[in-house]
């Protein structure tokens, strides 16, 4: 035994025994060298769209509540409740998750760009793919920064993978530089992106139209009206074939991925079985304990027969009731029916389970509910089933759809002093799709036209997480939300303070990034 030990001992003292390579993962430096593995890097960047704080769950809560289109039922507790009544602090977890996930999207996009640049494929097809992958990554990176700059203003701007390696503690960059970076990224991405993808395998990826729409939107948010108008108008022309979906309801159904109106969506796939994915993956199990899952929690979370965490605010419900643009008589917008369940006067849908085996059921509107018993219909599928029993919805979230683009073009032209037939036509085109009465005119002044435009956006895009952004960029968030909450049943507060026009820099950044921490005023932003 002694001899054996000595021999083994000598043999084992080779230096190579100290060079251990992972047995459970590939080495980053030589993995992303084929179109398949590069594609995986791109997919993983898309996957961040459903990470915490984003679209699998939190994103719609955050912005529906803060834009005051949704309000808390007694079921809503914790962080969302605090967002709902604007009592959240700098430690608010959903905001922290949103921040971290948006920067994770940036990080993964930077990895794609870094690797695809090194890849250097030999075939022309692959060379085109390399460009496309970089362009997709740039689109996603822009989408992340678009959210970051609107919500936080000045923020760390990480331009490349190398940037992160060099400095883990990026200081804040002024908002203007972030906007410039977004514009540059999208401008660079547009030529390299295809107009359409293979519908059976690649539908859902960002195409040329998505990048163009986001660029136009970026111009609009910066009040670069002319650029916004010209860029967004491209989407109404060849090579694009976007159009309004003839069915408004189809946009919020489980087949909405195939709508002609899509420009960019979040691809939520149906949950099927526990052995594949965890129904509750959106509570933080993405890519880990959640198994394979991409579904949306929205239907379950908002659904009045399920978790029923939010009502539609009475303020929103009332917005659907306005004087008929033609004759001034009381009018209820037809989109009320598609947006919420309620009583007959509200215009909301009063029955559900239209295509259930047992036939349709009346919505149990509780007239005595002091909060106003209006609940979400948009993005629900109670027409098919009396209750969901768990999160499993495949209804995609909308990021940019064609109706939004049309209204943005209208807005850009109104802001340039054109409140004539061109913007009127765009607004009426959106209205005609749902059978709403057309406006005869935009009221003869820029202010009147903007008021119509703003109201139209509120109705068309209710519950699509855009109103919060609109109110902030229009500069009317504080007055609007405080005045609406003041008269909202069982509310009566005016919680929106000046600081709320920006999100707080979350503690998860402030605590670990001294360069950001020293730059924050009033502990907020």
């Amino acid at each position: 035994m002694l001899l054996v030990s000595v021999i083994v001992g000598t043999d084992s003292c080779k230096k190579s025994k100290l060079d251990l390579e992972s047995r459970s993962a590939y080495d980053f430096s030589n993995y992303f060298t084929t179109k398949e593995t590069m594609n995986e890097a791109v997919i993983s960047t898309y996957a961040t769209l459903i990470h915490q704080g984003l679209w699998a769950r939190d994103y719609y809560f955050i912005f529906d509540l803060m834009g005051f289109e949704a309000k808390q039922t007694t079921n809503l507790q914790g962080g969302f409740l605090q967002l709902s009544n604007y009592s959240f602090g700098t430690d608010e977890g959903d905001i922290a998750n949103l921040w971290n996930s948006l920067y994770r999207m940036v990080f993964r996009a930077n990895v794609v760009i870094d690797r695809a640049t090194i890849w250097n494929p030999s075939t022309p097809t692959d060379q085109l793919l390399a460009k496309q992958y970089i362009a997709e990554a740039k689109f996603l990176r822009s989408y992340a920064y678009f959210n970051i700059v609107n919500l936080w203003g000045a923020a760390p701007l990480i331009k490349s993978y190398a940037d992160v390696l060099q400095n883990n503690y990026m200081p804040r960059t002024p908002a203007t530089a972030i906007w410039a970076f977004i514009e540059a990224d999208l401008t660079a991405a547009i030529p390299d992106l295809p107009v359409t993808y293979n519908a059976s395998t690649d539908l859902g990826r960002a195409g040329k139209g998505a990048a163009t729409a986001l660029l136009g939107k970026a111009y609009l948010y910066q009040k670069k009206w002319a650029l916004a108008q010209s860029t967004l108008t491209l989407l109404t022309q060849a090579p694009y074939s976007y159009d309004l979906d003839p069915s408004y309801d189809n946009l919020f159904s489980s087949t909405n991925q195939n709508s002609v109106e899509n420009i960019f969506q979040i691809m939520n796939g149906a949950w099927t079985d526990w052995s594949i994915g965890n129904q509750y993956y959106m509570f933080g199990g993405q890519e880990t304990w959640g198994g394979k899952a991409t579904h949306s929690g929205r239907a379950q979370e908002y659904g009045f027969k399920d978790w029923f965490n939010t009502y539609v605010t009475t303020a929103s419900v009332k917005a659907f009731q306005y004087p008929n643009p033609v004759n001034g008589t009381p009018y209820v917008d037809p989109r009320a029916y598609s947006t919420f369940y309620g009583d007959k006067p509200s215009g909301g849908d009063t029955v559900y389970c239209e295509s259930c085996a047992g036939g349709k059921i009346s919505y149990p509107f509780n007239a005595a509910d002091p909060q106003g018993d209006y609940s979400w219909r948009k993005y629900e599928y109670y027409d098919k089933t009396p209750s969901f029993g768990g999160p499993q919805s495949s209804i995609n979230g909308q990021v940019i759809r064609f109706a939004d683009v049309l209204l943005m073009i209208a807005e850009a032209s109104i802001q340039q002093g054109n409140f004539g037939s061109a913007p009127l036509g765009l607004i009426n085109r959106v209205r005609q799709r749902v059978g709403a009465v057309s406006y005869p005119s935009l009221g003869g002044s820029q202010t009147a036209a903007m008021n119509i435009l703003m109201h139209e956006r509120q109705l068309e895009l209710c519950g699509e997480q855009l109103r919060y952004f609109d109110l902030i960029r229009w500069g009317i968030a504080k007055q609007t939300i405080n005045s609406l909450k003041l008269v909202e049943p069982k509310d009566g507060t005016q919680p929106f303070q000046d600081k709320h026009v920006l999100f707080p820099i979350p503690n998860v950044e402030k605590d670990y990034n001294p360069n950001v921490a020293k730059d924050i005023a009033n502990d907020w932003n």
């Binding site: 035994m1 002694l2 030990s5 001992g9 084992s12 025994k17 100290l18 251990l20 992972s22 459970s24 993962a25 590939y26 993995y31 593995t37 995986e40 890097a41 791109v42 997919i43 993983s44 960047t45 898309y46 996957a47 990470h51 808390q72 809503l76 009592s87 959240f88 602090g89 430690d91 608010e92 971290n100 920067y103 994770r104 940036v106 990895v111 990480i158 883990n168 503690y169 990026m170 519908a199 059976s200 539908l203 990826r205 991925q257 691809m267 939520n268 796939g269 079985d273 526990w274 052995s275 933080g284 890519e287 880990t288 991409t294 509310d491 507060t493 979350p506 670990y512 001294p514 950001v516």
Partner: protein, 1030 residues
């Protein structure tokens, strides 16, 4: 003059040398003879094989079985009598003839052999700060795990039981927290490196003694592994002779020693009403019915139980002069003090020892199997669940009542639900074979080769009945199965040389060591869509999915070379120097090897002539040492380079694409690399004094140490903006980020004595440690924050608590208006409402904002102390162990449940003292108001408490039946001894802490220590046992 003195000195040890070689064969006789009997003072029995020598001559003899000796000596000669364990005696002969000599017990233990790194040494010659704990004195009979032996026994050694869950291990911290990644010392078992896992593999019954090496001059020989000290375990070895069998068995009960007062139903409903009012919501309809006012259950009582504990051991040992053998078997069964977990452990150890001429071989195999069944109920859930709720509800799938926000305004979890509807079973096993071979090459030179391996594995199964949990979430019928296994080995070879040349003793060690990375792997699967509950495992599941796979290394691979030289002059002056060179796979090629030197000196000053006059001093030794040790406890791969991430398990990172929204696989990365990472090193200086008085009955040890660790390996949280993390996780990076110093003083005093039938020993130890971060390096100049409340920054202790200081609860709006009026900018504290906490304006600028935070306290105890005592009176024996810590703070994390209402849940009666209406002078804020991290729940001293405690760890009273009674009971003389005892653990605890138990290890993550998140408290256990010898 000089020359003659040297000669004399050289001559002195000659007789010892000869006595060793010649023993009783030395028999030539000339001149006058002296004869007599050597006897033992305590027992009066003759002492056989004692050595009798004539000082200054080469004449030596040993006593026979009757204690009789005979030696040639003249009047005026000095007889020197020595015997192991007895005080040596020198007697000047007055006349020839008869001289009987009585030997007294030697309490000094200076000749005791101490196990040190790669060898042994006499205690007299040890230069370092060491503590030796004999298992017998430590109350091994009642310890259910080996770490319990160390509680309260050694100065500067803190033992923290992780929690009260049966089978949970303990954290042993030696001389404060020096490293950020690990506080675990190195465990060396019978001379071979092991780890905490192996240490816990051993049964306390198998341990003979434990030596703790605290200073770096003695630990440096272990190099990289020894930064947190070394715990050397010597297991019991067989003695040659007739087989010895001992059997012991003990049974007991364990209970919680503290309960909190929960609100009754009426008080709870009142609390929810307040909460709803604060949040402008209305309570569900049921709150208008009397049903909610019924006190159905005290959930704390429902989950707490009297747990049964039992332990049995059998030991068998024996052998011939050439071969000895031993076998020990142990079985422990423990229940948790809350429903519904139990842990069973089976230990076995077989060992053999062979001596064959100049060869010596040894083999041992330790086996442990543990099986844990069920899960523990959550104390936090028991506090939170509504008191009006029944346990069962037939209308809910699964049969247990639930809460939902819709009906109950709370989604607290029924604490009895999951543990009755899910049946996890975990089985672990470890094989721990060890073998060595030694050969004496030439005189004094020995070669030893030793091998050990760790082979472990586990199997886990779970069966979940389908049920609906709080908020009507569904948990489907599911069966899971998982396997894991790992193995690696350690191989060490070394030469040791030990020789005396006159007054000079030289010993040296030279060797190498290799730890193979081995491998580890695991697989887990889940089965769903099972038809019914008749067969409760995965094999019948129609849908089976792999839910996890892992493949990796079991250990960091390490190649080491080490050497040590020791020189002793005349047993007075001792010098030891060692060096170790370690190469580890954790680091990049340029930083792979680290050098770890150590040097120590000692001076047995009581052997000096000038000290001889001070006869009340029996022994005195001054020690000083310095050494450097290292740390590489970071993951084996993925630190110096970046690995891909495609979900965990791989393949889970997906996004849906295509019109059918099918999964597409994604791969990216989620870490940042640090190619420059290198060894962490700790330099420690130690100065100590061992002194004993009154014939060694009273002894004292004082040590001062200064332990500076630099280049500390840290997994530092980095900003979220880097993006390098998983969803929901904070990015982090491994780096050599900081330096920290631990300075302290350790003091031990003990007394051993006897008076007739009464013999006793008492020992008290006390240590003071100051932990201070010196710097956070260049890269990480930002304070390291974790858990929202700990803060690590230069000048304060690691993981110190940091935040605001609470002042009071705002009484009314008038008070706030007055505060605002004085504040610059008109706002004293942002968002402050009546009934909110008002915090202190620490910097005095007239308002409260983030600059009003400061270090609030430290989770690292300043003082650790222990007291243990043993006594024998006739056949009775008593053992007491008391231990405690002081100068420490803990965060009572469950206070945000017991005393705060951020959402709907039950609480303790402390919350009755909350603000309810303007004008209230209350201790706690308004229910549901500003209950967030920038409001009332911001990090503050509100939930920081004094974590000091003093605990009676163990008290055992035993009775050994006298031999004659044993004989009478069993006429066949089958028993050689019978002892019965009763023991109590954690009989009382003195603490100010308002939570369940201040003894917290908290998270193992170094920056989140001392935070109580609702851990199971240490139980109070009463046991009775019997030990039988055959």
């Amino acid at each position: 003059m000089q020359k003659t003195k040297t000669l004399k000195l050289l001559k002195a040890p000659l007789w010892i040398f000869i006595s060793c070689m010649m023993l009783s064969s030395f028999a030539y006789a000339q001149g006058p003879k002296i004869t007599g009997v050597i006897s033992d003072k305590k027992s009066g029995a003759p002492v056989a094989r004692a050595t009798v020598a004539v000082k200054g001559t080469s004449r030596v003899t040993i006593t026979d079985d009757a204690g009789r000796y005979s030696i040639q000596a003249a009047p005026g000669d000095i007889l020197v009598v020595t015997f192991t364990g007895r005080v040596s005696k020198e007697i000047k002969l007055g006349s020839s003839g008869e001289m009987n000599i009585v030997l007294e017990e030697d309490f000094s233990k200076l000749d005791e052999v101490v196990v040190i790194g790669y060898g042994t040494s006499k205690k007299r010659n040890v230069v370092g700060a060491t503590d030796i704990i004999s298992a017998k004195e430590a109350g091994a009979t009642t310890s259910t795990n080996p770490s319990q032996l160390l509680i309260g026994k050694a100065a500067g050694v803190q033992v923290i039981q992780s929690n009260g869950t049966p089978g949970a291990d303990a954290q042993i911290i030696i001389r404060g927290t020096g490293s950020f990644t690990s506080v675990d010392p190195l465990y060396v078992i019978d001379g071979i490196q092991g780890d905490k896992n192996l240490f816990n593999t051993l049964s306390a019954q198998d341990i003979d003694n434990i030596t703790i090496l605290k200073d770096a001059s003695s630990t440096a020989i272990y190099g990289s592994a020894a930064a947190n000290g070394v715990v050397i375990i010597t297991t019991k070895r067989a003695k040659s002779g007739v087989p010895k069998i001992t059997v012991s068995s003990q049974y007991g009960v364990a209970k919680a020693w503290k309960k909190l007062d929960l609100l009754n139903a009426a008080q709870y409903v009142d609390l929810l009403k307040d909460f709803a009012a604060t949040n402008n919501t209305t309570l569900p309809a049921k709150f208008n019915t009397p049903a909610v006012l019924v006190d159905s259950n005290n959930w704390q009582n429902n989950i707490l139980r009297t747990a049964l504990v039992s332990e049995s051991n059998i030991n068998l040992s024996g052998g011939s002069e050439k071969v000895t053998y031993g076998l020990s078997l142990g079985y422990i069964s423990q229940e948790s003090i809350v429903e519904k977990f139990s842990n069973k452990r089976f230990n076995a150890r077989i060992y053999l020892d062979e001596k064959l001429g100049r060869f010596h071989f040894g083999q041992s195999l330790a086996i442990r199997q543990t099986k844990s069944v069920g899960q523990t109920a959550s104390l936090t859930s028991a506090i939170q669940y509504a008191p009006y709720k029944p346990i069962y509800d037939k209308s809910i799938p699964g049969g247990y009542s639930i809460e939902s926000n819709v009906e109950d305004f709370s989604n607290a979890i029924n604490p009895l639900q999951a543990l009755n509807l899910e049946h996890p079973v975990n089985t672990d096993y470890i094989f721990f074979p060890q073998a060595f071979a030694e050969v004496d090459l030439i005189k004094g030179l020995r070669f030893r080769s030793q091998f050990s391996a760790e082979i472990g594995g586990n199997k886990s199964t779970n069966y979940k009945y389908p049920y609906t949990l709080s908020n009507y979430l569904t948990s489907p019928r599911q069966a899971t199965l998982g396997y894991g296994s790992y193995s690696f080995y350690t191989l060490e070879n070394y030469f040791s040389y030990d020789r005396r040349f006159g007054n000079h003793t030289v010993s040296a060690t030279l060797g190498n060591s290799y730890i193979d990375p081995g491998e580890s792997s695991g697989l887990s699967a889940a089965g769903s869509n099972l038809a019914n509950d008749n067969v409760q495992n995965i094999s019948v599941a129609p849908l089976q999915t792999v839910t996890g796979t892992s493949y990796g290394y079991a250990h960091t691979s390490l190649i080491s070379y080490f050497g040590r030289v020791s020189y002793t002059y005349n047993s007075k002056y001792i010098l030891t120097a060692s060096i170790r060179r370690d190469g580890a796979s954790n680091f990049g090629a340029n930083n792979r090897f680290g050098n770890f030197p150590g040097v120590g000196v000692a001076w047995n000053l009581s052997d000096e002539d000038f000290m001889k006059k001070a006869s009340f001093i029996s022994n005195a030794k001054l020690r000083a040492g310095w050494g450097r040790t290292g740390n590489n406890s970071i993951p084996t791969t993925g630190i110096t380079s970046v690995l891909t991430f495609s979900g965990s398990p791989a393949g889970n990172a997906v996004y849906s694409l295509g019109s059918s929204e099918a999964f597409a696989n994604g791969t990216s990365i989620n870490t940042l690399a640090n190619p420059a990472i290198k060894w962490e090193s700790t330099d420690q200086t130690d100065i100590g004094l061992d002194i004993s008085f009154l014939k060694n009955k009273l002894y004292m040890t004082v040590d001062w140490y200064n332990r500076k660790s630099s280049g500390l390996l840290v997994q530092v949280p980095i900003p979220g903006s880097t993006g390098a993390s998983n969803t929901g996780g904070q990015p982090s990076i491994y780096a050599n980020a900081a330096s920290v110093v631990n300075k302290g003083i350790e003091f031990t005093v003990g007394y051993r004595g006897n008076a007739g039938k009464f013999s006793y020993n008492v020992n008290t130890n006390f240590s003071y440690n100051k932990n201070k971060v010196l710097s956070l390096g260049d890269r990480f100049s930002a304070p390291i924050k974790a858990e929202g409340i700990t803060y690590t920054t230069p000048g304060s202790p690691i993981g110190a608590f940091y935040g605001y200081r609470l002042d009071h609860v705002a009484k009314d709006q008038a008070e706030i208006t007055a505060l605002n009026a004085k504040a610059p900018g008109g706002v004293f504290q942002d968002g402050l409402l009546p009934g909110d906490f008002v915090f202190k304006d620490i910097n005095g600028d007239g308002k409260v904002n983030s600059s009003d935070q400061e270090i609030l306290g430290s989770p690292i105890p300043k003082f650790i102390y222990g007291f243990n005592a043993g006594a024998n009176y006739g056949n009775f024996d008593l053992n007491i162990v008391v231990s405690g810590i002081a100068g420490v703070k803990v965060i009572n994390g469950i206070k945000s449940t017991t005393s705060m209402e951020a959402n709907g849940h039950n609480a303790t009666t402390s919350i009755l003292d909350r603000w309810r209406k303007p004008g209230d002078v209350a201790k706690l804020p308004r229910a549901g108001q500003s209950a967030n991290g920038s409001g009332n729940l911001r990090p503050s001293d509100w939930n920081m408490e004094d974590g000091s405690y003093l605990r009676l760890r163990n008290i055992t009273i035993g009775y050994s039946f006298p031999k004659n009674i044993v004989g009478r009971i069993t006429s066949t003389n089958i028993f050689t001894g019978i002892r019965v005892y009763v023991a109590a653990q954690n009989l009382f605890t003195i603490a100010k802490y308002t939570g369940y138990d201040p003894e917290l290890s908290g998270n193992t993550y170094i920056f989140s220590r001392g935070i109580d998140g609702g851990a199971l408290p240490q139980p109070r256990t009463i046991m009775a046992g019997i030990q039988l010898g055959f």
